[in-house]
C-alpha cells in the first residue's frame, strides 16, 4: 500500500505539521534516527522556503519504491514567484532574505535525489527522495 500525506503550508504551524508527518512516515518506512533527522530537516527547509518566498503551498510526502528499493519522497509545490536562476540558488551562501543560504544545497546533501522545476511567476516544485539503505 502506498502511503501519502499532504500538508498545507500557509503559516509556521504548517512547517511543524509537515515535519511531524515526515518524521512519522520515515520512521514507519524503517529509517534510523540519523536519516529521520535528515528527512525532517529537509522538509523543514522546503516548507520554510514556501512560507518565506511563496507565502503558501503544499508538502506531499509519500513512500517511494524503485527496483526493490524503498524510500521516502517529498514534493514541495507552490505557485509563488518561481526561481529564475536555478543554478544560483544551489550555491552555498546564496540568499535573498539575509539567511544563511544553506537551505537548498543542504537539502540536496541531506537527501539522495533532488530536482527543481521552476518557472518565473508560475511557481516552484522541488522533488527529493531518500532511499533506505
Amino acid at each position: 500500500m502506498q502511503v501519502q500525506t499532504h500538508v498545507d503550508i500557509h503559516s509556521e504551524w504548517g512547517i511543524v505539521a509537515a515535519r511531524q508527518a515526515g518524521r512519522k512516515l520515515a520512521r514507519e518506512i524503517g529509517f534510523g534516527s540519523v536519516d529521520q533527522a535528515r528527512v525532517t530537516t529537509a522538509i523543514s527547509e522546503l516548507a520554510r522556503n514556501i512560507y518565506l518566498y511563496a507565502n503558501k503551498g503544499q508538502i506531499h510526502i509519500e513512500e517511494a519504491t524503485s527496483s526493490g528499493k524503498r524510500g521516502i519522497k517529498i514534493i514541495a509545490t507552490d505557485e509563488g514567484p518561481g526561481i529564475k536562476d536555478v543554478r544560483r540558488v544551489m550555491e552555498d551562501g546564496y540568499t535573498t532574505s539575509g539567511g544563511l543560504g544553506a537551505g537548498l544545497p543542504g537539502v540536496k546533501r541531506l537527501m539522495d535525489e533532488f530536482k527543481i522545476d521552476s518557472e518565473p511567476d508560475e511557481g516552484t516544485t522541488i522533488t527529493t527522495v531518500k532511499w533506505l539503505r
Partner: protein, 273 residues
Amino acid sequence: MNQQIRELIHVHKSTITDEWMKEVEKFREDDYLQSISDTVYQNTNREFVDMLFNTVGQEGEDVKETISNYTDRLIQLGWPLNYIIRGMQEFRKVAVESLIRNDDQTRDIEFYQEVEDWVDEVVNILVGHYSGSWENTVFLQKMALKELSAPLIPVFDNISVMPLIGTIDTERAKQIMENLLTGVIEHRSQVVLIDITGVPVVDTMVAHHIIQASEAVRLVGAKCILVGIRPEIAQTIVNLGIDLGKFPTKSSLKKGIESALEMTSHQIVEIEE
C-alpha cells in the same frame, strides 16, 4: 421582529418549547453531549429556550445582555458552539412551522423572514461572544508559552544557562535573543550555555538564529557555549554545510559547565572529611 409576530410566538410558547425540546434531544446522540447527564441536559435546554423567549420580547442592548449572561455560563461549562447553533436552527424551524400551522391567513413568507432575521441576530451575538472568549484564551496561552519559551537561569556567579525545549519559530527566536541580552546584563554573566537537547529540529533558520544570538552576546562582553547537540543533529548540521567551527560547543551541559567554570577561573573541588 414585528409586534404581532412577537405576540404570536408567545401565544404558542408551550408548543414551540415542547417540540423544540424533542428535536434537541435527538441531536444529543451524535456529539459529545452524551457525557452530560439527563438532568443537566434538560435543564440547560430549558434555560436555553427560556432565554430565547425572553429575547423575543426585548430590543437592542437588552437582547445582548440576556444572551451574554447565558452564553458566559455555557462557555465556562465548556458547552460546544455546535449545540448553540443547532439549537437555534431547530428553534427557527419549530417556531416557523408552529406559526404557519396556526395561522388562518397565508403569511408564511412574512413569518419566515421575521423569524429568520431574529435568529440571525441572536446567532451573531452568540458566535461573537464565543469567539471573543476563544481569542482571549488563545491570547492567554500565548502569553504563558512566551514566558516559558526562553528562560535564562543564573547557575553560578557569572554563569547562566538557557535550556531550549521544543520547536523554535520566528517569534521564539526573537524571544531567545531578547532574553539572552537582557539576562546577560542583569546577571552579569560572563558565560552563557545554550542547551539545545530539547530542540527537535535544527535547520538553517534555527542555526542562523543561534549564531546571531551568540554574536550579540559576544558584543555585550560575554561568551556563548552551545551544548546538548545530539549525534543526529550534529550530522544534519554538517550536511547542511553550516560551519560551527568558531562556535564553542560541548556535548553535554555538564561538560559545558565545567568549561564555563574554567573560563571564569572557578573550580569545583571535593572536600575531604
